[in-house]
């Protein structure tokens, strides 16, 4: 027993307070995986985990972008539509015969541009992020059907290669290219948030914009940057989505923004901003993936149970955030 442990609480008890939501998510994930393994023999197969990543790679990328926005205390409702628009635009451009690399660049530019414009509207005109990104969502979804009313198949060589290429071990377990891309995005985002000036600014603004401004931090630049990052992530997510489905469909990813927000919240990021980790978001996406897999394995439960369970988990985690006393204001 040292002196410090008498005056303040021991470091092991103090540390997890901030990480508590993330740890709770991790515990939940392990419990759910444990249930899966104990109930279904095939669940323990490594490929099940890989499949969760393959099926949710795009969700993961988009959720990482959303984490940035939510950390500043904002919200981005446009991500699902932007992803759909990116997939749609690339399918359309490929169909009209543009080279794959050019299409990739163009598609990846649209999302950040829209995000940049939304960030500008939010910052310079002081309009609520909710409304601005709602308009962005309508715009992107409208553009989808403006391009085409029916889904456009992608037959381009580069896309099909990316879609079907399997990276795996000799025993037959594999991941797709999307998973690698998603991991790279996660690592870059984690580095940016933890070790760069931009990341520090994001946390500071989320904690208290007023103090951040008085400290001389670039409030406007950071705010616009996070919406641009979110747009970029949505665009990358859209590309991964088009790898996954090999088509651009006008009504794909409807309501995805809710899944994304749910994943971020379940991952322990506080919605008023200032507290949260990219790692938590990864766990949040995995929780959603495991729920879907469990329901698929069960077979007797219908798809709507996914929504009910996600809603219940959202409630439980928000309650947890309240109970462990993360200060909201």
């Amino acid at each position: 027993m040292s002196v410090s442990s008498l005056t303040t609480r021991p470091s092991w008890a103090k540390l997890p307070r901030r990480q508590m939501p993330v740890l709770a998510t991790l515990a939940l994930l392990l419990v759910m995986y444990g249930i899966g393994v104990s109930q279904y023999q095939a669940f323990s197969n490594v490929q099940v985990i890989f499949n969760i990543f393959i099926d949710n790679g795009f969700l993961l990328v988009i959720a990482v972008g959303m984490t940035f926005v939510i950390l500043t205390g904002g919200i981005d409702l446009s991500v699902g539509s932007v992803a759909a628009m990116t997939a749609m635009v690339s399918a359309w451009l490929l169909q009209s015969g543009l080279p794959a690399l050019l299409v990739l660049v163009i598609a990846l530019l649209i999302g950040p541009l829209l995000g940049f414009l939304m960030g500008c509207a939010i910052h310079f005109f002081d309009i609520q992020p909710f409304i601005v990104t709602l308009a962005g969502m309508f715009f992107a979804r409208g553009m989808c059907t403006f391009i085409s009313n029916a889904s456009i198949p992608i037959t381009d060589g580069f896309w099909t290669t990316m879609s079907q290429y399997r990276i795996g071990d000799p025993r037959g377990n594999f991941v797709s290219v999307s998973v690698i891309v998603a991991f790279v995005v996660v690592l870059v985002a984690a580095y940016v948030l933890a070790y760069t000036r931009l990341g520090r600014n994001v946390y500071a603004i989320g904690g208290n914009p007023q103090s951040a401004l008085l400290m001389g931090l670039p409030l406007g630049r950071t705010r616009i940057a996070v919406y641009t990052i979110s747009g970029l992530c949505a665009a990358i997510g859209g590309i991964l989505l088009s790898f996954y489905t090999l088509s651009g469909a006008p009504l794909i990813a409807v309501g995805m923004e809710l899944d994304v927000i749910a994943a971020v919240v379940i991952g322990g990021t506080v919605l008023t901003g200032g507290s949260g980790y990219v790692f938590g978001t990864v766990l949040g996406v995995l929780v959603l993936g495991v729920i879907q897999t469990l329901i698929t394995f069960d077979g007797s439960l219908n798809s709507w149970w996914t929504k009910i369970v996600i809603g219940g988990l959202l409630f439980a985690f928000i309650l947890l955030q309240r109970l462990i006393g993360i200060r909201y204001k």
């Binding site: 409304i131 309508f138 409208g142 553009m143 403006f146 709507w304 809603g311 928000i318 909201y328």
Partner: protein
């Protein structure tokens, strides 16, 4: 001259000026595009015509938006209204579909009462989460928005419940005094809410809670109770809107009923001039906002554009209205007009007048 100018400026500065201007502009554009747009004809003792259609179809949106106005004026937001629409419609239709005689008036009322009761419970759940547990409104209602769709599908078991009930159909398609019944229901709800908020102190109390919840509490207002109440009212409005939406098509679809109505409702409220920060609300503005959105949707349909592409127009309208109403935008716009004389050509006269003032 300056008197007329002043009067013009008061008119332009009136909070309802821009919504009315947008509505009139859209109606005018429609009439130019399709001369028969404003025509109303009497058929079978009922009035028919595009304007009547717009009124009838905007009734559910008006109801939801009215409840949303109260919620937003307390600084909150209710994302769950679409799901509540779906749940209440599903319960009512399920009960009616299992009844032996679907045209029995008493049975329909029982169904409505039951669905309304469930909606009130859901509203109370939202209210408890926000006012007692203190969860941010956007997240508290997000829970029910996600889970509620699942619940609605659970009630309908993923099917579309079709009913054949005259009295229930009347909620959406019936007529009363030559006008569709839905208009009267929406009007009644609007008058009721207006009477309770503007003829009693309740409206002011709601606004004061929205302005500063803690200060209101210290001033002797039971802030928690007021916040709780607005979510219940919002859920009740959403339930009635759910009845209308399902009655319109005589079927309940847990997935599609009331889909995105929460977004339209929030838009209607914002277009109507109510700030999302809370503290002020304008019921008349909200009704205008709902009418604008419905007119936009109807005119886009009339031009043979797919409903999804209509979202494009909606986005443009939303951004335009928000920019016009944003103080920051007005200030910037005004400053630019005064600060840099050469570029703006449109109104050099007004510029000269503004400089000395």
């Amino acid at each position: 001259m300056s008197d007329a100018n002043l009067r013009l400026r008061t008119l332009v500065g009136h909070r309802l000026f821009w919504p009315v201007a947008v509505l009139v502009a859209m109606l005018a554009a429609n009439t130019i595009y399709r001369p028969g747009f404003l025509a109303i004809e009497v058929n079978n003792g009922h009035l028919y015509g595009t304007p009547i259609d717009i009124l009838r179809l905007s009734a559910p949106l008006i109801l939801v938006a009215l409840g949303m106005t109260l919620v937003i004026s307390t600084g909150g937001i209710d994302l769950s209204v679409g799901s509540i629409c779906a749940i209440s419609g599903a319960i009512a239709c399920l009960y009616i579909s299992e009844a032996p005689d679907q045209n029995n008036l008493g049975m329909v009322f029982t169904a409505l009462a039951m669905a309304l009761g469930v909606a009130l419970v859901l509203g109370a759940w939202n209210g408890v989460l926000v006012s007692i547990i203190g969860i941010q409104p956007i997240i508290a209602t997000l829970i029910l928005m996600v889970a509620g769709r699942g619940l609605a599908q659970l009630i309908t078991e993923g099917q579309i419940i079709t009913i054949n009930s005259g009295p229930y159909r009347a909620i959406g398609l019936g007529h009363f005094l030559t006008l569709p019944l839905a208009i009267f229901i929406a009007l009644g709800a609007a008058l009721l809410i207006a009477a309770f908020t503007r003829r009693t102190a309740l409206g002011m109390i709601v606004e004061s809670v929205g302005g500063n919840r803690e200060a209101s509490r210290l001033a002797g207002i039971r802030s928690g109770r007021v916040v709780f109440l607005v979510y219940v009212v919002s859920a009740a409005c959403a339930a009635i809107a759910g009845f209308m939406i399902t009655a319109n098509v005589s079927s309940a679809d847990g997935n599609a009923a009331g889909l995105w109505v929460e977004l339209d409702a929030i838009l209607a409220v914002v277009i109507g001039g109510t700030s999302l920060a809370g503290g002020r609300f304008y019921l008349s503005g909200t009704i205008l906002g709902a009418l604008i959105i419905q007119t936009l949707t109807t005119s886009v349909y009339a031009m043979n554009i797919s409903p999804q592409t209509a979202l494009l127009f909606k986005a443009v309208v939303v951004i335009a209205v928000c920019l016009i109403q944003a103080p920051a935008f007005r200030a910037k716009f005004g400053r630019r007009r005064r600060g840099t004389p050469p570029p703006p050509a449109p109104s050099p006269q007004r510029q000269k007048e503004e400089v000395p003032a």
